[in-house]
């Protein structure tokens, strides 16, 4: 009986699938040219399996990958065994690459808008155009702006490319040759500028750090979800297996966050604190390290008489202490630390004082130890202060540039590009009217964010209110979608209606929906590209993408599109881009640097680079050992560095030391005091400041990244959606984590539809009642809530940035995603 039933079901399914298929084919609002290109078909006849070297595109870690192609179809991706970050391994996202390549919603070629009206409900009515027409359209537009002296009204916004130099062609020269302060504007202020500024203010390096985790014996992590969302993710997982399963002694880990996640669960101790109070915890840990005499004397220095004088609440004479590689310790103690007791911190963070003391003792007495932090700690109004306090712990235990500590990333031994932009500057580029204008996002402006690197989240609002003194005429977007991903994303959405928009994504998205012109990029498996490493272990490393297959459709690598547009610009700019040729030509030129400096894996040319997929040269050449700095001489760390060399290469502050008292902030003292209202005594020390929460609700609203966030595309990958939020079972969409006490008070049952409200708006979500989150925190990972991102993404889940209010850290410009508050009720 069962057997017969099954057979019937099987036949029925076959009939049913035909019907469902016809319905499915009807959806193609943005698909214009259906067929794959002839080249792709020609390749299909080829036959056997080919393995190409490339770079994963799912996070900034840039893992080397082996791409398996058989009969012209890419079917598998594994880590490159010879790549120092990947080591042949993969994270869960690495294997999603084929779905991205074959996403059925991909754009099939360049298109222009025919519906002049823009809006969520306005079909752009795209029609296909040729690449020639596309280049001419953009070229004419940009030349006309330049002729009018309005070239500053062109903006180029980019996200994960990654970085201005990593698209195969450097984006930055386009701005200075064409003449616009808005080329480029990066996305770092919605990414992680809080940590960059915290490092810049204390040790003088405007950068993320490189880490020697494998040799550390203690890791103290603040809001950096090491096993889900912190880069380099794949390598972090490898590190974890080693330090927890193989290394002797086993590395101890304390993890600080606002809800329980995989990192917290896997750590020895999870401290779940009130959002935005990470700095208070770090200050209390510093207090214990000093009062209990646990600081690293060779790096920090000591009291002149050798006796520990740090006593809670008691001021000290700065002259009583001899500082070695730090500056301002006693002043920091006097203005801030002396009163930052664990008991005080318990009141701020809700973490019991005894656990703070235990953590501080472990961290302070285990060497080497690393304190690391990321967005959880710094996407707040007090973010840079939190970051400075946490990073100062590294100075106190002497981990800067130490084995098992942290340093900064060295760049690769690249050769020269085919042309130098400085040789192609015309009079307009040098002194044209564009020079008078600041950036549209008011980065660097006295009335804006003077110390920020970028302010992409406010560019939309400035476009609408004109505060920058002008409005953009044309904007181009590369791997960024600010009308979806910035707080109060609605501003950007409205702004896109007021300008000519060029999107370059290979996929449909909200920016493309508002675009006038779509110049689709190749996906990462179809293109040439280079990428120097994101900060990793310090030693120089650069990987390369080689195309696994020819583009499936009539798409072009963004780098080549930028060159194509550049060639349209009249005068020497056009000549510069003609000289660059194409991305592959640029890569061939820069690879010449490897001839002089061969990599450890024998890479000494473009061909060997493409064959191995990576060039690298170990070791990281700097090392601090017990308060002395050394350089690598080829055999060992044998060259002693003089203080001025340390200042030039490593501790790049005015004092040439790690500064608890920041000279970088002191240079902007008046501006900081005026804009932040901070205490003139404390403003340039790591100190506690209550975060300014936004949104007005009774609960903290946290929208973290999950492990399955594949650089914005997971929302349209059914395989990724089904595994998106594993800890609480968000398999169809992300669920909002609600503590049982909140659920009870508000009459919410597990699985209920709920309304989440802030002062800015409201969204619907599905509740997951769980003990994983604090009673004062609701957690809803960002990813879903798209309205024009492809058939699987559309209408799925909740758009968190509808309710996250626009507020940024005055110092870093970092968007304060996690300062959000909201209320929740049954829908």
């Amino acid at each position: 009986m069962e057997i017969l039933k099954t057979k019937v079901t099987r036949r029925r399914f076959l009939q049913a699938s035909g019907v469902a298929g016809a319905a499915g084919a009807g959806y193609s609002a943005l698909s214009v040219v259906p067929a794959a290109s002839k080249e792709a078909h020609a390749q299909a006849a080829a036959g056997n399996t080919v393995v190409n070297k490339s770079i994963c595109g799912q996070c900034p870690a840039r893992c080397g990958i082996d791409v398996y192609t058989t009969n012209g179809k890419v079917h598998a991706i594994y880590g490159n065994n010879g790549h120092p970050i990947a080591n042949g391994k993969g994270c869960p996202k690495m294997h999603l690459g084929t779905y991205i390549l074959y996403d059925p919603d991909r754009f099939k070629g360049p298109m222009k808008r025919t519906n002049p009206k823009k809006g969520r409900d306005e079909d752009p009515k795209f029609v296909p155009i040729s690449w020639d027409e596309a280049f001419k359209t953009v070229g004419d537009r940009l030349n006309a702006l330049r002729d009018k002296g309005e070239s500053h009204r062109f903006g180029l916004f980019f996200g994960r490319g990654w970085g201005a130099s990593d698209v195969g062609v450097n984006i930055v020269p386009f701005g200075k040759l064409y003449g616009s302060p808005n080329v480029p504007i990066g996305h770092s202020s919605i990414c992680s500028d809080g940590s960059v500024l915290a490092k810049q203010c204390t040790d003088g390096n405007a950068s993320y750090s490189s880490y020697d985790y494998r040799n550390a014996n203690y890791l103290l992590m603040f809001g950096a979800n090491f096993l889900e969302a912190y880069r380099p993710y794949n390598n972090n997982l490898q590190v974890w297996g080693y330090i927890r399963g193989e290394k002797t002694p086993k590395t101890r880990v304390t993890y600080v966050d606002v809800h329980m996640n995989q990192t917290g669960a896997a750590a020895d101790r999870a401290l779940l604190l009130k959002p935005g109070t990470d700095g208070a915890l770090a200050l209390a840990i510093a207090h214990v390290i000093l009062t209990e005499g646990l600081w690293d004397r060779p790096f920090v220095g000591n009291f002149k008489d050798g006796e520990n004088k740090f006593k809670t609440g008691e001021k000290l004479d700065p002259s009583s202490f001899n500082e070695k590689w730090v500056s301002g310790l006693i002043e920091w103690w006097n203005v801030e630390l002396k009163d930052r007791t664990p008991k005080w911190a318990e009141g701020v963070t809700t973490i019991p004082a005894d656990l703070i003391i235990k953590t501080a003792r472990e961290f302070g007495s285990t060497r080497p130890a690393i304190a690391l932090f990321e967005r959880g700690a710094h996407t707040h109004s007090n973010g840079v202060l939190n970051g400075m306090a946490i990073h100062s712990l590294n100075a106190l235990v002497g981990s800067l540039f130490a084995e098992g500590g942290l340093g900064y990333q060295m760049g690769p031994a690249y050769g020269d590009a085919p042309a130098n932009p400085d040789d192609f500057m015309d009079a307009y580029a040098k002194e044209g009217p564009w020079k008078k204008f600041g950036r549209i996002d008011m980065q660097g402006h006295d009335d804006g964010y003077k110390m920020a690197k970028n302010m992409i989240q406010e560019a939309g609002a400035r476009q609408l209110d004109g505060k920058a003194g002008y409005k953009l005429d044309t904007a181009m977007f590369y791997m960024t979608n600010p009308c979806f991903s910035t707080p109060n994303a609605k501003d950007w959405e409205e702004a896109l209606k007021t300008m000519y928009v060029i999107d370059t994504s290979p996929f449909p998205g909200e920016t493309a929906w508002m675009a006038d012109l779509v110049l689709p990029d190749n996906t990462y498996l179809e293109r040439w590209q280079d990428a120097p490493t994101y900060p990793f272990q310090g030693f120089p490393l650069a990987q390369i993408r080689t195309p696994a297959i020819k583009p499936l459709y009539d798409t072009r690598t963004f780098g080549d599109v930028l060159i194509g547009i550049g060639k349209q610009i009249k005068g020497p700019t056009g000549e510069y881009y003609a000289k660059l040729g194409n991305v592959e030509n640029i890569l061939r030129h820069i690879a010449k640097g490897f001839e002089k400096t061969p990599g450890d894996n024998g890479v000494n040319s473009f061909e060997t680079w493409a064959k191995e997929g990576v060039w690298f040269k170990k070791p990281y050449v700097f090392r601090q050992v017990r308060g002395e700095f050394f350089k690598w001489d080829g055999k060992g760390y044998n060259i002693t560095m003089k203080p001025d060399e340390v200042k030039k290469d490593l501790l790049k502050t005015d004092s040439g030391k790690f500064e608890f008292k920041s000279s970088y902030m002191e240079h902007k003292k008046d501006w900081i005091l005026a804009k932040t209202g901070r205490n003139a005594e404390k403003y340039n020390f790591p100190h506690w400041e209550e975060p300014k929460y936004t949104g007005g609700g009774d609960l903290h609203f946290i929208s973290p990244k999950t492990a399955m966030h594949a650089e914005g595309r997971s929302g349209n990958l059914p395989n990724a959606i089904s595994m998106f939020q594993p800890t609480v079972g968000g398999k169809k969409q992300a669920l909002v984590e609600v503590h049982p006490s909140v659920a009870k008070a508000k009459g919410i049952a597990d699985g209920d539809s709920v309304k989440i409200k802030s002062s800015q708006g409201e969204i619907l979500a599905i509740a997951r009642v769980t003990e994983l989150t604090r009673p004062d925190v609701i957690v809803l990972p960002f990813e879903h809530g798209h309205w024009a991102h492809g058939r699987w993404a559309k209408g799925r889940g909740s758009h968190v940035d509808t309710i996250v209010v626009q507020q940024s850290d005055r110092i870093s410009g970092m968007a304060n995603y996690y300062s959000a508050k909201a209320s929740i009720e049954k829908a």
Partner: protein, 253 residues
């Protein structure tokens, strides 16, 4: 002949699901139907809740209950110890799905987890349930490898299309040896923290046997008598762990 088995070190596992995504890529799995999953559990209360996870592939049992109930002998045990389904013989009766204590078998024709149904987007030809452009080149119905046909049950094959090509006599298949990497099951090959090991349980010198011995490997639901060939390490020298062990009762020992 080897008796292939797997060791999963729960102390090293980060719960990242790369095993599951590598599996879905290598075996053309539908969303939510990976041959292997990671299960997550929450216990306790704030401020000290417990979150834990458990990676669960097919156990490739020595005494597979799924095989014993199969009316057509479609499920069979290979000479090298792997439990497979011959799709040419499977009639889709699902007895095996009920008999399996681990819930690691999959039937076609289920309602899709994610709409729109990806099977309707990449429609299958002939008897195959779908035809994704990224499907792998291997299709071997008699070993249950490749795109699942309509009306049959499927399951983890230990990536039989890979391991069956391994040089004979190899004690362990590991990605660390470049010469062996193409023979390693996808979940083992990609596992970043190296929480998974794959080797010959009949070879006393294999790394899997050394780990089972040194770290007190245990098997899931061992009381069923299925005798899984997947062992779990539950934390250094802590004997017993969370999972009862009865390795001493190994039939061949």
């Amino acid at each position: 002949m080897a008796k292939w088995g797997m060791v999963i070190d729960l102390e090293k596992c980060t719960g990242c699901q790369a095993c599951s995504t590598a599996c879905q890529m290598e075996n053309n799995r539908l969303p939510g139907e990976n041959y292997q999953d990671v299960l997550y559990y929450t216990e306790g209360k704030q401020p000290a809740p417990t979150l834990s996870w458990f990676p669960r592939p097919c156990m490739h049992c020595e005494e597979p209950s799924c095989m014993h109930v199969c009316p057509t002998k479609a499920t069979f045990k290979t000479e090298d110890g792997v439990v497979l389904i011959d799709w040419n013989k499977c009639i889709g009766c699902k007895f095996c799905m009920i008999a399996c204590p681990y819930g690691v078998r999959f039937y076609t024709d289920e309602k899709p987890l994610i709409e729109p149904n990806i099977k309707s987007v990449f429609k299958g030809e002939g008897d195959l349930s779908w035809n994704p452009p990224y499907k792998g080149p291997q299709q071997d119905a008699s070993h249950g490898v490749g795109i699942q046909p309509n009306g049959v049950v499927s399951k983890c094959t230990f990536c039989y299309h890979k391991i069956s090509k391994a040089p004979k006599g190899t004690p362990d298949l590991s990605n660390d040896d470049p010469a062996l990497r193409e023979f390693v099951p996808a979940c083992v090959r990609t596992c970043a923290p190296t929480a998974r090991y794959f080797g010959d349980l009949d070879n006393p010198n294999s790394k899997v046997n050394r780990l089972i011995s040194a770290k007190k490997g245990v098997r899931l639901l061992d009381h069923t008598g299925n005798k899984p060939q997947v062992y779990y390490l539950t934390g250094g020298g802590a004997a017993g762990g969370a999972i009862p062990s009865s390795r001493a009762n190994d039939k061949k020992a």
